[in-house]
């Protein structure tokens, strides 16, 4: 039986053409190394399942970095520890491919610990072959997360101590606690009997993927004679006697699942321009209605606007309403918010530009128009306003007059008016009404349309319309001169 297994499988290249050097017939592994045997078991399973063409093998970083020398299938080489993430990207793009992530213990349990944990937890429909040889083979026998207590490596010259390095990681046990994985087994390849069990486990882990069951992982205790400083037979014995004692063989999880994310859509679905555009534009104004642009008074043309108030007063929304109304009138416009945690609970402000010309800086440092929605905002920004600029003051929240004499002022109890309308939140709509009436920059229709674009809930449209009218009316009735 063993002889049959060791015959070169079809899913192996005839000659290892990618391998540099003199011996393209033999592998690069040391005599007695477990990697070669495990490769053959995988290739043989690929043969038998007839999946060579659709298999994508991910080579890790470690001694098996050159797995792609051998496997006659699609090959992708991944960064150290990242094979499960790379496999996720591949499998999600190609749900019909068979993705095999081949990883050592440094790769999987050390640097890539979180990647394997998360891929397993997502239940990616991939097969992971985890070669645990209790050491970093490739870099010269340093300690691995799986190195046994007392085991000497080049970075634990006196032997691993629990006190300094902690205990060896039992990956199979750990991952078996997760909901999503369907199959996790630990096997060994120390002798023919164990190799047969390993062969079976690998097949099952691949079969699960073919059947779309979900995440499967086979942990294989594997000899590294070179790294351990042993002969091949001593190394096999050490697998049996030392490793198997700490890393108990067995099935840790075997449930009849179906992959959590098995039904992800396939790659590049053709989609027409109209479909994309209507999808992307779906929540935006579809009517390309032409609005009549009112003639703004000279002093209020191309305004740079600052809006300030408490978070929650609709400061940012007022800015958006101004910008969107202006956009509907074919103006150039920008809206720049204060963003991030500073907004939570604290003050909010935003900058709006409306112009006939292309707008340079969206930042407003010398506003032509200031909306002071509360007292601190007036205190803070009153002096920034340009000479002859306009300050709109929400007198419901500001109990003082503007101190400057060289600016225009519009005092309006916006919050009170909004309350009367029955919706405190419409304070900003009252204010934009006042602005539209005072400057003639925006029309009633453009603002109303912007309100409807932004305020999704239809039941608020009516109160908002009333608030808008009231804001305009208030200015009409109270305008000085």
């Amino acid at each position: 039986m063993l002889k049959e297994i060791l015959k070169k499988p079809e899913s192996f290249y005839d000659t290892f053409f990618r391998k540099p050097g003199a011996n393209p017939e033999s592998t690069h592994y040391c005599p007695g190394c477990g990697h070669g045997v495990i490769h053959k078991l995988i290739a043989e399973a690929m043969d038998d399942f007839g999946i060579r063409d659709r298999t994508i093998m991910i080579s890790p970083v470690g001694c098996s970095v050159f797995a792609y020398y051998y496997f006659d299938c699609g090959n992708v080489q991944a960064a150290h520890g990242r094979a499960p993430a790379v496999g996720t990207g591949i499998k999600r793009a190609l749900p019909n491919s068979i993705v095999i992530s081949y990883q050592g213990d440094g790769d999987l349990a050390g640097i890539g610990g979180n990647n394997i944990l998360q891929a397993a937890n997502r239940g990616e429909n991939i097969t992971v072959i985890f070669v645990n040889n209790a050491i970093y083979g490739m870099t010269g026998s340093q300690m691995a997360p799986t190195t046994l207590i007392g085991q000497r490596t080049t970075t634990t010259p006196l032997g691993r101590s629990a006190k300094n390095e902690g205990y060896p990681l039992r990956i199979s046990e750990l991952l078996a606690t997760l909901e999503a994985p369907v199959y996790i087994e630990r096997v060994a390849i120390s002798d023919a009997k164990h190799v047969l069990k390993t062969r079976k486990a690998i097949r099952k882990a691949i079969q699960n993927q073919i059947e779309g069951k979900g995440f499967s992982l086979v942990e294989i205790l594997s000899p590294c004679p070179t790294g351990w400083g042993m002969s091949p037979s001593e190394a096999n014995k050490w697998v049996d006697e030392a490793m198997c004692k700490y890393f108990k063989l067995g099935v840790y999880k075997d449930v009849n699942g179906s992959a959590v994310n098995n039904n992800t859509p396939a790659g590049n679905i053709a989609i027409t321009k109209d479909e994309i555009v209507s999808l992307l534009g779906s929540n935006k104004p579809k009517d390309e209605k032409k609005f009549v642009k009112p003639e703004a008074d000279e002093n209020y043309k191309n305004p740079r606007i600052k809006i300030a108030g408490f978070g929650g007063q609709g400061v940012l929304l007022l800015g958006r309403l101004l910008s969107e109304s202006a956009m509907l009138l074919d103006y150039h416009t920008t809206w720049l918010p204060s963003y991030g945690p500073e907004m939570r609970g604290g003050t909010a402000n935003c900058h709006v530009n409306i112009s006939d010309k292309r707008i340079g800086s969206p930042l407003v440092s010398t506003p032509d128009v200031l909306f002071a929605m509360n007292l601190p905002s007036l205190d803070k920004f009153e002096n920034e306003v340009r000479e002859n600029g306009v300050i709109f003051i929400n007198t419901s929240m500001v109990n003082r007059k503007v101190r400057r004499k060289d600016v225009e002022t519009v005092y309006i109890p916006a919050t009170r008016i909004a309350d009367e309308v029955g919706q405190t939140k419409a304070t900003n709509v009252v204010l934009i009404g006042a602005f539209a009436e005072y400057t003639k920059l925006l029309s009633f229709e453009s603002v109303l349309s912007a309100v409807k674009n932004i305020v999704r809930k239809k039941e608020f449209w009516e109160t908002n319309e009333t608030a808008l009218k009231k804001g305009m009316e208030y200015v009409r009735n109270n305008r000085a001169g």
């Binding site: 990618r18 591949i90 793009a93 416009t333 800086s361």
Partner: protein, 352 residues
């Protein structure tokens, strides 16, 4: 024409989808999070994949995997996340994988803050990972360009089999402006090199390994040739009033918008200034700078950094014209007023 009002971060996703991108892998970070949020909303609707990865390291490697299959794929983040993605970007450059990363810069170093900054220039434009590689860097300065350049990024990535980074800042990401949706890309080039689980590509390998020094040198030389071709063919910039300008202002991203206002103001006061805004940071508009140095007296560079692009301007000038730098860091954005003041001082000096 239908104009949609949206944030720069949203526009990047629109551009990506119109550019044929069908997978997004990312990890949230301010001020880039709306990109992930918008992608989460739209990608599944266009038959694509959205997945919130466990980290930026995982995200870029998922992108690496998806790009290996030929899928148009992207991720986005801000400074700290980009630092983590650098290994994956280096691998992608080495393996010649086309993919797109958006970096919405914030203040650094370290956790810094979430205000807009441009301190990632060096780590992005100079290839912040290991090895002799370059990525194509596009620098939008408005919401429309967030859409258009992200779309273009996918074409450039495929054309050159190279990572492309859209480098912008918190302001361009967070601000809203009207956008006209561009035409979607509907024709895609064949990618014979991919590994897509079919007989046709079964002999393909995606890898950045070349064990023999001579082989790796050959690979590196090939990459350098590609970067040279990119430098010759893909330079993009925008200029304003440069013909008769005595002082050329230079800046990218949000700073170039401030400089645009400065130019308008300065011209109205009779100061002969012009603006040269690099749209591609790699390739850098070196020839254009040299050409302008024959007529201009001085280059004035402004950035929200310690002068990272300024170094490249000086390299391009080869000492032939004087160059001055004015910058802010930490999230402070230069104002039109203060730059105008600087310019007035410069013009007084030039007169003397």
């Amino acid at each position: 024409m239908l104009r949609l009002f949206m944030k720069g971060n949203e526009a990047a996703v629109y551009g990506a989808i119109l550019g044929g991108c069908r997978a997004y892998y990312g990890y949230p970070i301010t001020p880039a999070s709306e990109i992930a949020e918008t992608a989460a909303k739209y990608f599944p609707q266009v038959g694509g994949t959205f997945l919130q990865a466990e980290s930026e390291v995982a995200a870029i490697n998922m992108v690496y995997g998806a790009a290996s299959t030929g899928q148009r794929v992207m991720t986005a983040s801000s400074g700290p996340g980009l630092s983590l993605k650098q290994e994956g970007i280096s691998y992608s450059a080495g393996s010649e994988l086309p993919l797109v990363v958006v970096d919405v810069m914030r203040g650094g170093p370290g956790l810094g803050n979430i205000a807009p900054e441009q301190g990632d220039y060096n780590q992005i434009v100079k290839g912040g990972g290991h090895g002799n590689y370059r990525v194509i860097v596009l620098a939008p300065n408005c919401v429309q360009e967030m859409c258009d350049l992200t779309k273009a990024a996918f074409e450039l990535a495929d054309k050159y089999r190279n990572p492309v980074i859209v480098l912008t800042d918190g302001f361009v990401g967070q601000m809203m402006e009207p956008v006209v949706l561009p035409e979607p890309i509907t024709e895609f080039q064949e990618k014979p090199w991919v590994v897509d689980g079919t007989v046709k590509t079964v002999n393909n390998l995606i890898s950045s390994i070349e064990l023999e020094p001579e082989d790796l040198e050959r690979h590196n030389i090939k990459l350098q040739k590609k970067y040279k071709t990119i430098s010759e063919n893909e330079v993009r910039y925008e200029e304003l009033y440069t013909e008769d300008a005595e002082v050329i202002l230079m800046g990218y991203g949000i700073v170039s918008r401030v400089l645009q206002s400065v130019v308008d103001e300065a011209r109205s006061e009779g100061l002969p200034v012009g603006l040269l805004r690099p749209v591609t940071l790699f390739p850098f508009p070196t020839n254009k700078i040299q050409e302008l140095s024959r007529t201009a007296k001085l280059f004035f560079v402004s950035e929200m950094s310690n002068g990272q692009m300024f170094d490249d301007v000086r390299l391009a000038l080869e000492g032939k014209s004087p160059a001055k730098f004015f910058g802010h860091m930490g999230g402070v954005v230069p104002t039109t007023e203060e730059i105008l003041e600087q310019l007035k001082m410069i013009f007084n000096e030039l007169k003397e």
